[in-house]
Amino acid sequence: DFLQSPQISKCRSPEMETFSCFWTAGNFYNLTVPRVLQLLYKKSNEEDWKECPDYITSGQNSCYFNASYTSVWTPYCVQLASKNEVYDKKCFSVDEIVLPDPPVHLNWTLLNTSQTGIHGDIQVRWDPPPTADVRKGWITLEYELQYKEVNETKWKELKPRLSTMVPLYSLKTARDYEIRIRSRQRTSEKFGEFSEILYVSFSQIGIGCDHCTEEVEFPWFLVLVFGVCGLAVTVISIMLSKQPRLKMLIFPPVPVPKIKGIDPDLLKKGRLDEVNSILACHDNYKTQLYSDDLWVEFIELDIEDPDEKNRASDTDRLLSEDHLKSHSSLGAKDDDSGRASCCEPDIPETDFSASDTCDATCDSDQFKKAAEKDLLCLDRQDNDESLPSLANTDPQRQHRNTQPENSHLWAPFGDSVESPRPSVHTQISNQNSLASTDFYAQVSDITPAGRVVLSPGQKSKLGRAQREGCTEQNFTMDNTYFCEADVKKCIAVTSHEENEPPVQEQGYNEDGYFTTESLTTTVANLGASTAAPPSSEMPVTDYTSIHIVQSPQGLVLNATALPVPDKEFNMSCGYVSTDQLNKIMP
C-alpha cells in the first residue's frame, strides 16, 4: 500500500450559482501531528489565499462556496494544503465545471398499442432538476434517456434533447422496462448523475398480454435456405438448357485464342527440330494469317486513269454536300481503301515548291503592269500558253499575261510538267457541268461566309484605271503579296465598280495580292454583312466561288453560290497547284 497524498478529486457546480470542491485525505497515517487540511482559494485578480468558507454543507472533505462567493466567469485557483505543505492545486472557472443534478419526477403514459396488442408506445416525462434555474434561462439543459428491459444488461440510449418529454415506441407489452435520465449543460460534454430509475410495466394498467409470448419473428433462416436453393436450381437449369441464347447471355463463352503459335508442349518436350521447322515456315504463317484474318485490309493502289477519275468522280463528289462532311480527300474512295484515311490529296512534292517559286515571281513588277493582277500570283498562267515550268523562274515571262477574254482563275503556276493541261477551270454556274473551256478568273471578293468570289478578268480591267493609284504604292519586295495594310489602303482608295458586295474594311478586290494570312484573317474577320451571291449579280456566268478548301492546298471552285462551310484558308501559299486543280476539275 503506497502513500497517497491528499488530492483534490473534483470541483463541481450544479447550477452555475454555487460550487463545491471535494478532496481525498490520503493515507498519511504515520504523521505524529494530525493533519489539518485546508482548502485555500484565490480569485484571479486577488493576491491572497483565503480559506474555504464552508467545510460542512457538501459533506466531509469538501468545501462549499455559496452564491456570494461564486463568480461564474472568473478564474479561481484552489489549493489543498496543511500548515506547511501544499498538496494539490487546481485552477478553473465556474462555467467549466457545471454538472447538473439529475432530473426529477419521472413518469410515463401510454400512447397506444398495436392491433395485436403485442407492442405499445409510451410517453416519458420528467422535470428539470430543481436547482437549475431553467425558467429564467440562466442555464440550458440537455437530457439523455436510457432504457432497457428488466432482465437485460445493456442500456439503450436516445439522443440528447432539450425537451423534457420523449416517446418510446414499440415496447413489448409482455415485458417490463427500466428508464433513467441524466442531464448536462448544453455545449458541455459531461453529464451529471442519473436520475432514479423509472419502472414501466404494462400489466399494471391492464394491457399486458399473457398469451402473446410467442413472437412472430421473421424467418430469416428459412428465407436464406430457400433463396439459396432457388438460385442453385436456376443456375443448373440455365446450364442444362438447350437454349443457346439464354446460355450465352448468362454464361458467355470464353473466347479461345486465335493466334496460331507454337505448341508449348513441343518446347517442353524438347522437340527442337519440329520447332525449327515451324519457325522456318514463318512466311507461310504470314500468308495464312492474311488469308484467315478478316481485319486486315489491303491498301488499294489507285491505278486508274487520274483524269478520268477526276473528271467523273472526284469533282462530283467534292461538289456535292455530302462530301463536305466526309473526310473527302481528292483521292477518296468510298470503300475502305488505304487512302481513305489519308485526307491529303496525292500531291507530288513539287507542287509545294510551286508556291515557293511564287514568291520569286510575285513581285511588285506585276503590279506595275496594268495587265492583269492576279491574286496570289496567279496570273502567271496563261490559258493559251502552257503553264510556266517550275524551272523557268523568269518572272517577267511568267507575268506576261495576255488578256484573254476569259476570266482568270487564281490558279498558281503549278507544275509545268503538266503544262499542256489547262489550268484551273472555272465552272459555269451549272454545278455539275464541268466546263471544258479554259478560262481564268480572278478572285474578286471574299464573302463573309468564306466564299471567294471570282470575277472574270475583263471586268476587272474596267476598274483598273481607277486603281492605278494602288499600283503605284510601294509593296514590299520580299513579300510577294501585299501586306494586308497595303491592301486595305488600296481598297480604301478604290471602290467597287461592279456589282460587288459592299466593300468592307477588309474587303477585297481583284487588285490585291494577299498573303495567306491576310486571306485567312480576312475570311475570319469579315463582318456581318453577307455578300449576295455574285452569280446573281454578275452578268457573266463564269463566276466561281470557293466551294471547298482542301487542307492544305486544295481549292475547289464552284460556280454557284453554295453555302460554304466556315473554313479558313489554311493553305501554304494560298492556292492550289495546277496539278491539284487538275485533279479537282475536269
Partner: protein, 220 residues
C-alpha cells in the same frame, strides 16, 4: 446542370449546423419587420453556435498543441475583455437593466471583432494546423459579424433613448500571436482561445436570460 448546382450551393450555404435559415425576412430587406421574438431566437441560435465552435476549437487546440506543455497550470489568464464590468452571477444578471445588458453584449462582441479577424489569419501560420481548426476560426469570425448585426437590430428596437456605442475594449495581443518562439506563440493562442470560449459562453448566457426575461416573461 447549372440549376442543380445553384440549388446545391444555396442549400449548403443555408443549412449550417445550428443555424437554420429563416427565410421570412431575408437580409437587407428594409420593409420587412421581424418580431422581437424572432430576432432573439436567431440571436440565441447564433450565440449558441459560436460558443459551440469556440468550445470545440479550444478542445482541439488543447489536444493537439497544449498537452505536455503545461499550459493549463499557467492559464489563470486575463482576457482583454476583463476591463468590461459584466454580470458575474445570476443575481447581477437579473438586476441589470436590459438595455445596459444589451449594450454590454454589443461591447463584448465589438471587442472581439478585431481579435477574431487576426485569429483567423494567424492560426493558419501555425505549423501543421488541422483543417478543422482553420475552418472554425474563419466560421467564428463570420458568425460573430452576423451576431453583431443582429444585436444592433435588437438594440435599435429595444432602446428607448440613444444608443451608446462607447463600450469597447481594444485588443493588443497581435504581437503575441506572431512571436518567433513557438512555445510562447502557442501559449498566446491557447489563452486567446480560452478567452474566446469564456466570452462566447457569457454572451450566450446573457442572451438567453434576456430572451426569457423579455419574451417569455421569465418563464422559459
Amino acid at each position: 446542370g447549372l440549376l442543380l448546382a445553384a440549388l446545391l450551393v444555396s442549400h449548403m450555404l443555408l443549412t449550417k449546423e445550428g443555424v437554420t435559415s429563416l427565410p421570412i425576412c431575408p437580409n437587407g430587406s428594409v420593409n420587412c419587420q421581424l418580431s422581437l421574438e424572432e430576432l432573439f431566437d436567431r440571436a440565441v441560435k447564433l450565440s449558441h453556435y459560436i460558443h459551440f465552435l469556440s468550445s470545440e476549437m479550444f478542445n482541439e487546440f488543447d489536444e493537439r498543441y497544449a498537452q505536455g506543455r503545461g499550459f493549463i497550470a499557467k492559464a489563470v489568464n486575463s482576457c482583454h475583455t476583463a476591463t468590461l464590468t459584466t454580470p458575474e452571477d445570476k443575481e447581477q444578471a437579473q438586476q441589470i437593466h436590459h438595455e445596459d445588458l444589451l449594450n454590454l453584449i454589443l461591447g463584448v462582441l465589438r471587442s472581439w471583432n478585431d481579435p477574431l479577424i487576426h485569429l483567423a489569419s494567424e492560426v493558419q501560420r501555425i505549423k501543421e494546423a488541422p483543417e478543422t481548426i482553420l475552418w472554425k476560426a474563419v466560421e467564428i469570425e463570420e458568425q460573430n459579424k452576423r451576431l453583431l448585426e443582429g444585436m444592433e437590430k435588437i438594440v435599435g428596437r429595444v432602446h428607448s433613448g440613444e444608443v451608446e456605442n462607447d463600450i469597447y475594449t481594444p485588443w493588443d495581443g497581435l504581437p503575441s500571436l506572431q512571436l518567433a518562439d513557438e512555445d510562447s506563440r502557442l501559449f498566446a493562442f491557447y489563452n486567446l482561445l480560452h478567452c474566446l470560449r469564456r466570452d462566447s459562453h457569457k454572451i450566450d448566457n446573457y442572451l438567453k436570460v434576456l430572451k426569457c426575461r423579455l419574451i417569455h416573461d421569465n418563464n422559459c
